[in-house]
Assembly symmetry: D2
Homo-oligomer: 453 residues x 4
């Protein structure tokens, strides 16, 4: 990744998926393979010890490896060559056992898995932070009225906390499903030349078990080198998480429009304009939306690479590292940005109420119709309400005024009943129960994080 | 969908997702809503009965609805209008309660969900058939040797049954994860105007529960109209399933090349050429690969629609029906095609063995090196094996002949030991254990189908 | 396509790409092939006459063809079979020459091309309508002030006509490039069994020329059955056109927000809400954004199908008809919707001006700084302007008031000079020249429509 | 980009698009802006000279800029800040004029354009190399017989040179269209705060012209900051070019299968296996197919970013630099890899002929039928040929043997006529003329390179 690309990325996630981290993880695989092979009697213990020792301190020149990788079609070949040379400098005998019995894809895929595991942990930390921030808003604003907006037009009053609870419910599902996908994807790959561990004869199964233990990774039922649904699923869940952050960003950025003015990102240095000093920009939302726009295609790339040729395809697995790196870093970036935004969100409840009032009370027509129906029966109530709405719009007054001016309506409703009809809290329907359920869903998602489903 | 598009689709899945089925499901929603509302005292029982009765036999002109939908921005509005007219013809009083308290997206989204549930069942039937067929091949050919191929080049001997078990393991994961995603996606949507069930006041939560019961759908924690990760996840899993079928198709089509000749699709009428009568085409693989090529982008579209504006976005939910229809029908098509192919697959074990032998024994070099190492030690054995391989290639003879002609090698190995080194069964490594584990994974996926995770 | 899907599509474009139109175009290919073959002496004239006659009136059962297509892997085989049967019913002798020398892909690809040509004409009509409507707005509102908005925050005053001219410039490029891509894509495909017209020996090249003439299609340099960049390019340009319409829709829908209220879609029947009678929804924008959201992935599918296997791939060409149909219908839908919206757009210039004024004059700070610089020099002017802006925001008054209250500023500027600084027309910069150039670009795009580049 | 990602990329293209190159290009923009502004009298000449001088030697810490960019939502803000500081160290007076009148997007977009122009030149060099190599094969093998393969099954004999000419024709179109798209995309972006060059009043248009001249870039009709079809089109053409290289790679990799053995990549160091020393891998094809698999989604991302909000969207333009970088580097990588492969391609004409002969002459049935028709009439000839093909398959002999054994056939054909029927050169149809036309198309594409259409 480039330094400038970092600009849009979460630094911790990017570090977990850096070139250097991958090379270290690949060395970790080779060390563990040597140790497990020694345990199975396939490699002399002394050689394994030497290999493991060198792996722990091996150094690689990424530019040199990159050139070799281009020629070889895989990073593994120049990597193993360089590692072997460093082992050979200490013990030519041990050098013969480096990478013994494994194939290129084993060390790359498992190295990638080791990096992904750490990156997924970081993503989950961030999605937890974002969910917690949404939960706090859901609680705090459970009765703060604002306009629901459908097709970008005001609809009915809803609590801002309910809006946050809709975000939260999505985050709860995404958090749990991402955890499950991460668990499914982060599995040892070890198959040797063709995938059957042919070099080990009968001891292959036990060796695979031992290697999985060394690396603290689950052992797969069978080689998955050419069955890459786990990576595709992880990519899709990362994209969904980024999309969930993007949903929050979409809403916040719209509410932050100068003409709406209902919320504001927390002030931060740097969010100005290079030409207009008066501006306050939604830079957190921008970062999240940028990520949300790029991840669908990246996830689509992994979905399009599910049908490689035979036991090792041409071009599929070789670059999934890059695709997954961008996916996870983008998801982390979006989550981190929106966690910061929601944690410090400035909520202008007066503006929310003022925007509601701009409709001249038409957003309360449901309440009026329901109240009238108690007196007049539904059909007549509905017809009368429509008439009142039309009158209000035609005469540029509020629905309450139109109601008071209409003899039939006035006969049906006492004056003291009118104000409550235009109280947004009386439009909140089941929002309270929904908020409670969303909060419970979030708690469940957090406590079930290890089961992942 | 067009009749010609059917050509590539599974008919049962297409029927579950036809225009007519959707309209019927939307009517089912309105009937259930009327009944549940009557139960909650929100709608008179007689009106509810009338509505439910008419919903059961309502007829719609799709072309007329389509024109209305374009003007309204949603199918729901002309649909409700036409339904209301049909109720009004029987009871003008009852007509006032049609769709009461619901919004357009409620009836469309829940109608879609009802259709998806049936379509997902069909997809799972087909993925079960494909998995069962792969399992049968894994068992039957557990010791049938063929060449593993990496980067389209022969690698080492593996059992064909092991190759089928790699397919099976992927199918087991995909079958289980698809079931989980289907369960998560097929949930009632019911929120009314803004999403809070504002029309029902305090009784909204109970009404939602009752409506879910009427439709035998799970109740969500909170409205999901603008939080569409469930559909995105279902689309991704459908794409992954299609990709798994595509993986099988890729391998079968390559093995079916005239120059390889290892398997053949079952004979079927129609698989010829319009210009060349001698051809036998992989039409099942073609159908699966066609589907596998189209699904990634369709799934990507759903991933790109996760950030709609506020409580009802512009353009996201309105067309997800079409996208999901193509995704599920494509997945079903791919699975059905490959189930038929694997169930009737003609396996030419002689050709598999013949292709192995074309390497002049070089695919057995691992075996030779391992045997020599027992006598000479690993370093010397490896060097000698490389020398023998070079000699075989240079002198255009088999590795066995080169071995017999080399004094050092002959001194290390007895004649009776030589033939077993070139027996493919002695290269199978851990394939037996892997096959067993993949079969067990498949059984677990089938028995856990209802839990989905 | 389904009737309901029509809801989102332009009817004329959908008709040009219907199942029935395709089958008729395939019959047209077979008729032209027979006639051209007779001219080349390859088929008896009488047989050709009979075939052409039957092709003109042949009838096909799409459901039956669809089933045959699934078994055959291509629609062409059941199609040719049914056509041959209809010819044989008149003349068994002539029936032997149906499809002579051609292959399945020839009749499908050329049939598709014939349909695409008509659909592309329709798309260009619609893009012309949209461009003309944008051009009219650019002219009419060349000096109507509104706020430019960057990152959804108000920036500086710009003319609304300039905003329309930015749309227009994009449409001019897209219109021209789409025309070029349509011309490149709509080319005869004719190659016979393998692509070399092997059945015709030396007369193949002349026959290809004659067939192209019969169908009024350009002749390709060489068979393009397995080189499908033309379709990919057409798909990309259709997606770009839909995206251009989507850009207009994005801006209009944001300007139509109740809180902004600067424009409104023309009133149409049907644009209401099923639950909220007071709503006026941006249904035209919705249709355009729906289309714009689906086309990128569809175009991506064609981009992913550029590497088919050898002379006829598995799954690429077989379904490009469906993908292109959706792409062109979606583009037509988006263009038609926005043409209607812009043609009848209700522009609220007072609201535009009111939204500008909400900034308390801060959007005019550039003007103040430039004027001060003439007296104080740039550095001092910039520093003073920043001070005035801060004061205005801190004291909640306008920038003009802050300016008048500041002794240094008052000393530099006469009272009569102040008002012009806060006149939006004095912020319009080069917008006039830009509008003129965009209008000229549009004229050029229209007059160069046949050259397409 | 990461060093490891370089492994799959063309080094020259990557250098043209490196972080460092972008920062230098952005400095070039600021220098040119200062000079043009001085020319227009907007900035003092001395300040402009100082700015231009510092721009030529300014140094930036990418990591620091990246952090600032995250906070600011754009790289431009920390960049301008750092540049200003470096100017201020020399002349505080001059520092006041850095970036004067421009906005963030101006310097980023134009900086990107400057980088893209160089990268596009590199891509065109490589596509020329690949086309030239294909043209050489088309000429050299214009009469080298091999089997056409449809749906991966042998069809009829075609010249290998004709197959190369199909590649060439695609490359000719792609080369020309890419050049056109590059020309359209590489245009100055300069609009100031809102896009109208508001800071310059009447002199904006002239200043834009002067700036374009300074940078040797075309001047746009109007600001394109929010109308990004040019970048989308360039991305699509880059993806199509990569797909064209992928098409060549697909065919070469299939022909290189051990069981087919018709061609081989040129030998290179590094193309072995880490576990199997006997392997020769298609590493060039792998690189091209890897690139071809990733570009469709990247192009789709740009297609999905055509509808940004108002005058500066949230997330679209900010990351198109990264997306375009990957697209162009991927395309360059694919083209470079396949140019190298085709330039050194080892062609095994004997294997091509042997694979043809495996069909036992059935691939010549068209020839037999056409010759018989001259004696027996078409209907009888077709029927007899079918009978002979069936006999040959049933009796496991060649079609020539079946012909000689059939009395009716023997009566119709003299012995000396038989051999030519089974000569592949007599199946080549119009391939010669097609090859000539494709070569001419390629010449035209090269000579028209500057016009691009």
């Amino acid at each position: 990744m480039s330094l400038l690309q970092h600009a849009f990325w979460d630094a911790d996630c990017a570090a977990a998926l850096s070139d250097e981290t991958l090379l270290a993880a690949m060395a970790r695989f080779e060390a563990a393979l040597a140790r497990a092979s020694a345990g199975a009697g396939v490699v002399p213990q002394a050689a394994a010890d030497t290999i493991a020792q060198i792996c722990g301190r091996a150094r690689f020149d990424a530019a040199e490896l990159a050139q070799g990788a281009r020629r070889a079609g895989t990073l593994a070949i120049p990597f193993v060559k360089r590692l072997t040379a460093q082992v050979a400098a200490v013990s030519p005998e041990a050098a013969r056992f480096v990478h013994f019995g494994a194939t290129s894809q084993d060390v790359v895929d498992t190295g990638v898995v080791l990096c992904l595991a750490a990156a997924c942990d970081r993503v989950r930390q961030l999605s937890r932070r974002l969910g917690d921030a949404a939960a706090a808003l859901a609680r705090r604003h459970a009765r703060t009225p604002m306009a629901a907006r459908t097709l970008l037009q005001p609809a009915v009053p809803v609590p801002f906390g309910w809006k946050a609870a809709v975000w939260l419910s999505m985050l709860a599902r995404c958090h749990a499903r991402f955890a499950g996908a991460a668990r499914d994807a982060c599995v040892l790959q070890f198959g040797g030349a063709g995938g059957t561990l042919s070099a080990y004869g009968a001891s292959g199964a036990a060796l695979m078990q031992a290697l999985a233990g060394e690396l603290a990774l689950p052992r797969p039922a069978i080689t998955w080198h050419s069955a890459r649904d786990g990576f595709a699923r992880l990519g899709a869940e990362a994209a969904i998480l980024a999309g969930a952050a993007g949903k929050v960003a979409r809403d916040v950025s719209l509410m932050m429009q100068a003409e709406v003015g209902e919320v504001s990102e927390p002030a931060s240095e740097g969010g100005g304009s290079s030409s207009m000093p008066h501006k306050r920009n939604p830079v957190g939302c921008l970062a999240a939306l940028e990520a949300a726009q790029r991840v669908p295609a990246l996830a689509g790339t992994l979905l399009a690479q599910l049908s490689p040729e035979h036991e090792r395809g041409l071009g599929q697995w070789q670059s999934q590292w890059f695709t997954l790196r961008e996916l996870l870093c983008s998801a982390a970036s979006a989550l981190a940005a929106m966690a910061e935004v929601l944690e410090g969100l400035q909520v202008n409840t007066a503006a929310m109420r003022a925007n509601l009032e701009r409709s001249h009370g038409l957003v309360y027509s449901e309440n009026v119709a329901l109240r009238l129906a108690r007196t007049l029966g539904k059909p007549a109530a509905h017809a009368l309400t429509e008439k009142l709405c039309e009158a209000a719009q035609r005469e540029a007054r509020t629905l309450a005024e139109a109601l008071r001016a209409d003899p039939q309506a006035r006969a049906a409703i006492e004056e003291k009943e009118i104000a409550p009809l235009f109280d947004p809290e009386n439009c909140f329907g089941a929002s309270g129960a929904m908020i409670e359920r969303a909060l419970a869903e979030w708690s469940a998602a957090l406590s079930a994080r290890e089961t992942g489903s």
